[in-house]
């Protein structure tokens, strides 16, 4: 018998906060994307541990679907970053000042 669900959840919550901090604090869109991945993964960890807790598969299925969604977000996000770089714009989330009013 290993650690119970509470421990998993604590790790998930910590990971979620780390991801949140990364999204809010970092300026490089690439690292922001990576931090978003961490947020989604922490949710996956929570889903899977709850799935184990309740003994039904819904959580695992959800986690798989989330994985696919996360991959999709990465594709679009990276596409955008490449397009921004191609236009020789500054890659800095905070410096998108053209749109501040």
């Amino acid at each position: 018998m290993g650690p119970d669900v509470t421990w998993y959840l604590v790790v998930a919550a910590l990971l979620f906060s780390i991801g949140t901090l990364g999204v809010l604090l970092r300026r490089s869109p690439l690292i922001v994307l990576l931090s978003l991945e961490i947020m989604l993964n922490s949710a996956n960890l929570a889903l899977i541990s709850f799935s184990r807790l309740h003994g039904d598969h819904d959580g695992q299925i959800f986690a798989l679907a989330v994985m696919a969604v996360a991959a999709s977000e990465v594709v679009v996000g990276l596409g955008l970053i490449v397009a921004v770089a191609r236009r020789k714009l500054v890659l800095d989330v905070d410096r998108f000042r053209v749109l501040r009013g």
Partner: protein
């Protein structure tokens, strides 16, 4: 004795997971961040395995750590030095607010978990050996969660189209480039 081993692996994986998570958000160079995320994903996969989610763990390694991260690294390599941006310099209102928000989230969730820990979270359901196996997951995807399965494919398709659209240089952009070149 098996318990101690499980605990040891679990603690190792959790520590690796959190450590690499912190590394991802604090490295200045996105290349190292991405590498740290691979470690994060791998250690998460171990945790998934320990929570009897074999198939998800396998998918995590194959899809995520494999395919997605390769894409990441490729883009970072393509961008080269431009991808580097310094860490947020000096405390600002934004960073203060961010830390506050993240802490609030953490406290909220941990308190929620803590309040819960006594009763419900303790008694785990008994699961058979087939729990989390590819066959089981597959069956659910084709019956109860058919819609989710289908939507996942649509989302991926949209993302693929988006990747192609955003990745190709358009005529309007070429025109702009020509204008840039023409200008001294």
């Amino acid at each position: 004795m098996g318990n101690v081993l499980v605990w040891a692996i679990w603690i190792g994986a959790a520590a690796a997971c959190l450590g690499s998570g912190i590394a991802v958000v604090s490295f200045a160079n996105p290349f190292f961040s991405a590498l740290a995320l691979i470690g994060n994903l791998a250690s998460l996969a171990v945790l998934f395995l320990l929570a009897s989610a074999e198939f998800v763990a396998a998918a995590q390694v194959l899809v995520y750590a494999g395919a997605v991260m390769v894409m990441f690294l490729f883009v970072i390599a393509y961008l080269g030095g431009r991808a580097d941006t310094p860490f947020e310099g000096g405390p600002s209102w934004v960073s203060f607010g961010a830390v506050l928000a993240a802490t609030a989230l953490l406290v909220e969730i941990v308190v929620a978990i803590g309040l819960k820990a006594g009763d419900l979270l303790a008694d785990e359901a008994e699961v058979g050996a087939a729990f989390g196996s590819p066959a089981e997951i597959g069956r659910f995807f084709l019956t109860d969660h058919l819609l989710a399965f289908e939507i996942t494919s649509i989302v991926l398709l949209i993302a693929a189209v988006g990747g192609v659209i955003l990745g190709t240089k358009t005529r309007a952009e070429e025109q702009l480039d020509r204008l840039d070149k023409a200008a001294p």
